[in-house]
């Protein structure tokens, strides 16, 4: 009985460990955001795997039960870890969150011109270029930009495909 409940909550415990590790490694060990997120995810994943194997080896669970529940817990933990990474990234890079943070700071509200002065598109492009270059996703050579590591391009293509399937268009401006 206890084992069934324990199994259900393994991914949540893994997520807590993930968040704790990410926070410590970013705030105190001064890892970069990406490194701290990867480290947190791996530590949580190790816990989830270990806890699943505990059920199999120590608590005598059958193989027929072990594999499906391990897959469920792996998928649940991965989805939760992905959501957490997205939450952290939204705080860092999402435009809507940045605009809301600026409005929060201002007690009397901001006009459109004031918002555009604080958060202009040119600065945003600079920020994003420097993030893409430092991450190796794009390369600057002879005054021009080229694709570097293909991960971001692959993600962009997948999102584009999903846009076509779900929204039936390539861009929100079509």
């Amino acid at each position: 009985m206890f084992l069934s409940y324990f199994y259900a909550f393994i991914p949540l415990l893994g997520l807590m460990l993930n968040v704790f590790t990410q926070l410590i490694s970013f705030r105190y060990i001064k890892f970069s955001l990406l490194k701290s997120l990867v480290l947190g995810f791996i530590i949580g994943l190790l816990f989830v795997s270990g806890a699943n194997f505990y059920g199999y080896f120590a608590a005598g669970q059958s193989a027929g039960e072990f594999w499906p529940l391990s897959i469920v817990n792996f998928l649940t933990y991965s989805a939760l870890g992905y959501c957490y990474a997205h939450f952290v990234n939204m705080g860092e890079g999402a435009r809507r969150i940045r605009i809301m943070r600026e409005l929060y700071k201002s007690e009397t509200g901001l006009t459109l011109d004031e918002l555009l002065k604080i958060y202009d598109g040119r600065q945003m492009i600079e920020n994003r270029i420097s993030r893409l270059v430092s991450g190796g996703q794009i390369i600057f050579k002879n005054g021009r930009y080229f694709i570097g590591k293909p991960h971001m391009l692959l993600i962009s293509r997948i999102i584009l495909l999903m846009k076509l399937i779900i929204l039936g268009k390539r861009s929100e401006f079509e």
Partner: protein
């Protein structure tokens, strides 16, 4: 196996319902509608499975039987739903980083000059639509010519501000 099977069946049902509704008419407040669809399907599905119990079988597997199994299905479904919804935010609106990467890819093999970004990624594309989104989502409102946060917006902004403080992250972001 029951948890894996029923979790996936409910998720696929919710996803198909979402696709059908999107093909009929794109909702104005898309994320809110997604939450309604997915958690509506979850609640209806769980209530139905609970009331039908054993007679219903799919691929030779009966409905979940114990409370622990139901909790497991709910956690599995919820994590997949949240992961889909955070991904959907990148489908709903064009991410500047992804647009930039695609532009660079389209300029292969000659590469792309920095000035090209400024030509296509203006404030009208990058910032103004996101300000309008915040008004549509009722996270901000217009008071005269000023934008202000609604109570919902204040709550959301303070969550991100608190978390950035917890991480000791004082970069501007964006």
């Amino acid at each position: 196996m029951k948890v894996l099977l029923w979790g996936i069946i409910l998720f696929v049902l919710a996803f198909l319902l979402h696709l059908i509704i999107w093909k009929i008419r794109l909702p104005k407040r898309q994320i809110r509608m997604l939450l309604l669809i997915f958690f509506g399907v979850l609640i209806l599905g769980i209530v139905n499975l609970w009331s039908i119990m054993l007679p219903l079988t799919v691929l030779g597997l009966s409905a979940p039987y114990t409370l622990a199994e139901y909790i497991h299905v709910v956690l599995f479904f919820t994590s997949l739903t949240l992961a889909y919804i955070v991904t959907y935010t990148a489908i709903e609106v064009d991410s500047p980083s992804m647009v930039m990467v695609m532009q660079i890819d389209n300029a292969c093999p000659y590469g792309l000059e920095k000035m090209e970004f400024a030509k296509t990624l203006t404030d009208d594309i990058l910032v103004k639509p996101r300000i309008r989104d915040l008004v549509t989502a009722k996270l901000t409102y217009m008071d005269g010519d000023k934008y202000k946060l609604t109570p919902e917006g204040v709550l959301l902004a303070s969550i991100f501000i608190f978390y950035r403080k917890l991480m000791n992250n004082y970069s501007k972001g964006g």
